[in-house]
């Protein structure tokens, strides 16, 4: 079996190991962190298009709000959902 490169990141305080080359969105989904955020009226929101157009998968990576479907994982990343950051979950 070929050796796979791994990345270690922190999802809301929990250290997880994921294959390098995947996206932060995939890491969040694999960890079962859902919903990604809530609308102003409290509806659950999550990734829709997976290609950077809909902006529904936003989360905070190392202090910056990004579209997680376009953000590759790398070692040492710290990821939080917007609802946690804005204390609105």
């Amino acid at each position: 079996m070929p050796e796979r490169t791994l990345a270690v990141l922190t999802l809301e305080g929990v250290r997880v190991t994921v294959p390098a080359g995947t996206t932060v969105l995939a890491a969040l989904q694999n960890a079962g962190l859902s919903p990604l955020r809530r609308s102003l009226s409290g509806e659950a929101r999550g990734a829709l298009c997976g290609m950077g157009s809909c902006s529904e998968c936003r989360a905070v990576v190392d202090g910056l709000t990004v579209r997680t479907c376009l953000t590759p994982v790398h070692d040492g990343q710290s990821v939080q959902r917007l609802g946690i950051v804005n204390r609105e979950v």
């Binding site: 102003l40 902006s55 936003r58 709000t65 804005n86």
Partner: protein, 375 residues
Amino acid sequence: MKAIVIGGGLVGAACADALARHSALNGQAARVTVLEPGPVGGGATAAGMGHLVVMDDSPAQLALTARSLELWEALAPALPSQADYHGCGTLWVASDEEELAAVEPKRRAYLAAGREATLLDAAELARAEPNLRPGLAGALRVPGDSVVYAPVVAQFLLERAGATVRREAVAELRDGGVRLESGEMLRADVVVVANGIGAVSLLPGLPLRQRKGHLLITERGPIHVHHQLVELGYLKSAHGNDEDSVAFNVQPRPTGQLLIGSSRQFEQPDREIDWPLLRRMLRRAAEFLPALENISALRIWTGQRCASPDHLPLVGPHPHLDGVFLATGHEGLGITTALGTAELLAAQVFGVPSELLAHDFTPARFDRLPEVAHA
């Protein structure tokens, strides 16, 4: 009465609504058909900020915007909640004492037009909008200005008018009607051309030019802004000359998002984002609201205003085509002045009174201007 309105933006929808209501008052059922090949309110109506604002570049503009704000206030209770009508008021922000000194004539003009306007000094401005940078001279506060999500209003007015909306493009204006691109002829007593810059393809001599603008909306964020904020320098940059220009113009959405403008460019008919100009626009905005540097953009888009040489819309009968009326050329004020435009159009069509008839908004006013001679 049979009426055709070309264009399903807010101006067209407001005209359809006014024609239907006045016709009903005359005891005639109006049959209004709106021709719109795209989505309702999907053109300049959707691209703009939806800032309902009194402006006084000219006495006619002041009369039209002030009357329109009264009509918006009357309409507001009937609007669906999705229209996001929100009376936040406007702060015209003065950067220095020179700009602040120029505010007093503006304030008096607003009061004379029946619109409340008060002067804020530097300390009062800082209390009203703590996120503005320190050192600004003051502001003119216009509490009666509002914001609205215009595409929803366009749909609402078309439904209230009982208008039939057909997803068809018009190929040609004819005496007594229009010919559709499909070849079909539609007849009507009144035809209203209300398709913004699209009017030029039907009436090539019109003195109208596209003026592109950029807007950006942020995510919900930590920056609280209470009024629509516009720099007084906007008045210079907005209409000053033909060069590309930017100005600080920020609107708080009811969601907590910020809508950031503004830019103006002639002869850029494409929809592409001009990144250097966008950077200038955002740098200008951040000079007034430094905290913008730490907030993420969700979307950026462009739209095309439809500008006339004197920055007033063309509302009234076509000089040579019987039964054809124009309602276009609103530049950046089409959402604000859609309701005043519709009142004026109804006054012209049905011969009912309107104070707006005191000003010349008719297309015929340009027959005297050289711009039309070579067009």
